[in-house]
């Protein structure tokens, strides 16, 4: 399986959701391959999936970006990333993105039947994520509220 076949549905879903839901435009994006260790910018949402493909999706951003996303969603101002609204907003955005991406993949490849797990959120300094034998690919998206990074790993993906 090539990197494009699993990263692009997620990149596409991310730019769609950011644009449609939050009116955030992506000014530029680049892809990168990563090893099995992923270092967070400060705020990370994890959504696992299983079925025809097994793996996980990360939505990663800085704490400031996470706070801004929550403000855009709710219209309120927040001063801490620990605020429940900020955490929930991040979880919800990642849930919608991965839902859209997986629907897209399941529709274009009938029989895969991929299903998602509920999202988990982590915020703090120096958070690193590790997966055994799963090499992953990232897409870095530059927006006016900061860099939003997505990372997808699929078992058996290269």
């Amino acid at each position: 399986m090539s990197k494009d076949s699993y990263l692009s549905p997620f990149s596409l879903a991310t730019s769609d959701v950011l644009k449609e839901m939050l009116d955030i435009n992506i000014d530029g994006s680049e892809t990168a391959s990563e090893g099995d260790l992923f270092v967070s910018q400060g705020f990370i949402v994890v959504v696992g999936f299983t079925g025809g493909w097994k793996g996980r999706f990360f939505l990663d951003m800085s704490s400031e970006t996470a706070i801004q996303i929550a403000s855009l969603l709710t219209g309120d101002d927040y001063d801490s990333v620990g605020d429940e609204d900020v955490i929930m907003s991040g979880a919800e955005v990642a849930n919608i993105i991965s839902g859209n991406a997986i629907t897209d993949i399941n529709n274009s490849q009938p029989g895969l039947n991929i299903r998602l797990t509920p999202p988990s959120v982590f915020a703090g300094d120096g958070i690193s994520m590790f997966n055994v034998r799963l090499s992953s690919s990232s897409a870095l998206m530059q927006t006016n509220i900061g860099t939003i990074k997505i990372n997808v790993a699929v078992e058996g993906g290269k």
Binding site: G51, M88, P118, G124, V132
Partner: protein
């Protein structure tokens, strides 16, 4: 939440621990929480989909993780929590999940698991599930381990 689901994970953890040579592991406590949050610096998340949907998180301190990794590698001292012990811990979590899922199957629930993701960091704020979570604590000479089970 059904007690047979919790028991499947408890016996999964005990079976795998014994298999890895952690023989003195004991169940020390049980708690219930409104949501899944963790204070430990090493957390391994495994997602569940199928008849049950949710997350299971194995949560422990870095020192405990190093002790367990050392035990798994036949007593080789592990001082730093680098890729080697991370990989060992993920493998252990995967074995526990696999074992638990086969226990669940015997109890009549078909569940599929995602590959484990290890999250490591200090002063973390976490929100893993907003649903009721059962936390089962265990203690062994390597340290304490908690298994958090949150099912939707």
């Amino acid at each position: 939440m059904d007690v047979k689901h919790i028991n499947a994970f408890v016996s999964g953890l005990l079976n795998v621990s014994n298999m890895l040579g952690i023989n003195d592991i004991k169940r020390t406590g049980l708690a219930k929480n409104e949501s899944l949050k963790t204070d430990n610096d090493v957390n391994i998340i495994i997602g569940l989909v199928g008849d049950l949907r949710g997350n299971v998180v194995l949560s422990l301190q870095e020192a405990t993780a190093c002790n367990i990794a050392s035990k798994m590698m036949g007593g080789v001292p592990v001082e730093q929590f680098d890729l080697m012990p991370k990989s060992a811990l993920c493998e252990m979590a995967n074995m526990i999940a696999g074992n638990s899922v086969s226990n669940l199957e015997q109890a009549g629930s078909l569940v599929d698991i995602t590959p484990p993701t290890l999250v490591n960091g200090r002063n973390m704020i976490s929100m893993i599930s907003q649903v009721e979570t059962i936390i089962v604590q265990f203690a062994a000479s390597e340290g304490t381990i908690a298994i958090n089970i949150s099912l939707e």
